[in-house]
């Protein structure tokens, strides 16, 4: 039975590995506050013009630790409890791209590959031989190359763009699950508690079962 369980586990793990069909660049997403804040700057500067973040309110950004002055600059006349709407109207977006740009609140988990997909996509722009723009991850994309990867000429530029992309992914990873840090912290306590109580239960179990005599 034990051997079988091991085989079953290996099978299911390899099945999970099977699932990842494309090879994405590893985002190695940062969950530190400075990275998320840098990402917020990048998103508000590069993405917010067209994309909504409808599950995030301006108040959430202040609660995260971004300065009130900065958030006030971003929100303009919008109230603190307003969701982050795109600066461009949906009608304008339809006119420009023939498609409403997707909401970004859940984007870091809305594609197979998750954060790695997003990172690879952001740095995946290149110029085809005929001069038109394309993307390694999503060739039909209508989004312009906001970070300028397709025009980067040297490694220094590329490294800087990759760092920006990583920060954007960090921020969007936070918007997808703002309670993740709290969850992981709580999880450590819960599991520590469970290990202690399970050990105690095991000792009690041994003590109680010691009364039984086997033939």
């Amino acid at each position: 039975m034990k051997v079988f369980l091991k085989i079953a586990l290996l099978c299911s793990l390899s099945a999970a590995a099977w699932g990842a069909e494309e090879n994405f660049e590893q985002a190695n997403v940062e969950t530190t506050l400075p990275a998320i804040k840098r990402g917020a700057d990048e998103v508000m500067g590069n993405c917010h013009a067209c994309h909504t973040l409808k599950y995030i309110k301006y108040r959430d950004l202040v609660a995260l630790g971004i300065s009130q002055a900065k958030v006030d600059g971003w929100r303009g006349d919008e109230p603190m409890d307003a969701p982050l709407k795109a600066q461009m109207s949906e009608a304008d977006a339809m006119a420009a791209f023939n498609k409403v740009p997707p909401d970004l609140s859940l984007m870091s988990q809305a594609r197979d590959g998750g954060v790695n997909y997003l990172y690879s996509y952001l740095i995946g722009y290149f110029n085809k031989p005929d001069g038109t723009l394309s993307n390694h991850i999503f060739a039909e994309t209508k989004m312009p190359d906001m970070l300028g990867m397709s025009n980067a000429t040297d490694e220094v530029q590329k490294t800087a763009i990759k760092a920006k992309a990583r920060d954007i992914v960090s921020f969007l990873n936070w918007t997808t699950d703002p309670h993740a840090a709290e969850r992981i912290q709580l999880g450590k306590y819960v599991i520590a508690y469970l290990i202690v109580i399970t050990t105690l239960l095991y000792l009690v179990k041994r003590q109680i079962w010691a009364r039984i005599k086997y033939k």
């Binding site: 599950y55 809305a110 197979d112 599991i191 399970t198 086997y214």
Partner: protein
């Protein structure tokens, strides 16, 4: 004082008797392994799902315009809403994991065999209820995979002759999956768990009549039974602790590992996802569905793949008691079956694009049903071989005893017939 109160109650309600019958004096085989923990564990997971589900329902809105947003409201604004939702979503997978293990134990040790057929069948009913509940619950987040999964599965009912289309419309409340579908699935998803609780009580009444099986498959003498409490209450509690550690790892550290990315996109009837894949616990059955070339055949095969477990008490013809303990061939069959099921699971996960995968799926499907249909012959052949090879005295004694009983029964019958004629 406490005694007086208990006396007062006992005159009106058999409380003490009940506690004695089902806990402090309930005889349980002392040789049960940890594989016997999964029954009570399933009960606790059911409670966990009920409690988290009720609190989620306080914040959830079953409306195509609102439900996706209400999930995000639970995840972001409700106090510990993220915990409730991740516990409930992980709990569904945990429930199936526990139930599948519980079933695998029953298969391995032959616990479904006489006199536990009714216990096994009530368990089968529970599995069907659980599957229906899980399927309807999966629609509620109203993501892309929710919508398309429900569309594909409700479509299967079209295979029913004559009334198929009407049944599909009845299930959906509309011609396509839409707002009426969501509302009725929510109503039923809230109702079904309580039906399950009732079915669990029936399952327990059956269990407490025939008592637990044990690894040997033999009926143990009274001296080898010990009271359920305190021995198995503490053993089950310890098992629960171990289970909760694994469960918490999923809830707190990898809660999205079993969720599909496409379900983070709101349902859109105009856009079909590249690859519609059910939750992991339906994958083997889904693979069987896809392995049969025709729709009707596939639906019948899939239905049969779940229901066929109920026929096991009839299919296992061996006179050797129990399951794998004294029966090496049966044991080998068990492992083949488990492997085939996992292979089917892997096949179900893959998009149906390559011919190789399709063939592996078809071979596995044949082997899946073969495991059941060949069992009567294999179990008989195994019995003859094992009796020739020699079995432990205690097993032989039991077989001979049974044979003598049947012989006696026959003679009586012959005598009666003889008198008559």
């Amino acid at each position: 004082m406490a005694n007086n109160i208990m006396n007062w109650i006992d005159k009106r309600f058999p409380a003490t008797e009940f506690i004695k019958h089902s806990l402090t004096e309930y005889p349980t085989p002392k040789n049960l392994s940890y594989w016997w923990n999964f029954g009570s564990l399933a009960g606790i997971v059911l409670l966990l799902q009920l409690i988290t589900g009720i609190f989620l329902a306080m914040h959830y809105k079953a409306d195509v315009e609102l439900s996706f947003n209400s999930i995000q409201h639970i995840m972001r604004d409700v106090n510990y809403g993220w915990l409730l939702r991740y516990m409930h979503a992980t709990g569904a997978s945990a429930f199936f994991f526990v139930i599948f293990t519980h079933m695998a134990r029953t298969l391995y040790y032959g616990s479904y065999r006489a006199p536990r057929e009714l216990l096994w069948w009530t368990g089968q009913g529970l599995l069907l209820l659980l599957m229906a509940t899980a399927f309807m619950g999966y629609l509620l987040p109203w993501g892309q995979m929710s919508f398309w999964g429900a569309t594909v599965i409700t479509n299967l009912f079209k295979a029913i002759p004559f009334v198929g289309d009407s049944i599909v419309t009845l299930l959906r409340g509309d011609f396509t999956v839409g707002d009426p579908t969501l509302t009725r699935f929510f109503a039923l998803h809230y109702l079904m768990p309580f039906v399950i609780v009732g079915a669990v009580l029936i399952h327990l009444v059956a269990l407490h009549t025939v008592k637990s099986s044990n690894p040997t498959g033999l009926e143990l003498p009274a001296k080898d039974n010990i009271p359920f409490h305190p021995y198995f209450t503490i053993k089950d509690l310890f098992g629960l602790g171990v289970f909760l550690i694994f469960y918490s790892v999923f809830v707190f550290f990898i809660p999205t590992s079993l969720m599909e990315a496409a379900n983070n996109i709101p349902a859109n009837p105009m856009v079909t996802p590249n690859h519609i894949v059910p939750e992991w616990y339906f994958l083997p059955f889904y693979a069987i569905l896809r392995s049969v070339p025709s729709l009707v055949g596939g639906v019948v095969a899939m239905g049969l793949s779940v229901v066929i477990f109920a026929f096991l008490p009839f299919l296992d013809r061996s006179r050797i008691p129990g399951g794998a303990r004294y029966r090496p061939v049966y044991k080998a069959q068990f492992y083949v079956f488990m492997t085939v099921t996992i292979v089917l699971g892997c096949v179900g996960y893959r998009p149906p694009t390559s011919a190789a995968i399709a063939i592996v799926g078809q071979i596995a499907t044949v082997m899946y049903f073969g495991s059941f249909l060949l069992l009567p012959f294999i179990s008989k052949m195994e019995e003859r071989w094992l009796i020739k090879r020699g079995l432990p005295a205690i097993v032989m004694a039991l077989i001979n005893e049974e044979a003598a009983e049947i012989e006696k029964h026959k003679q009586k019958k012959n005598q009666r017939n003889g008198v008559k004629s």
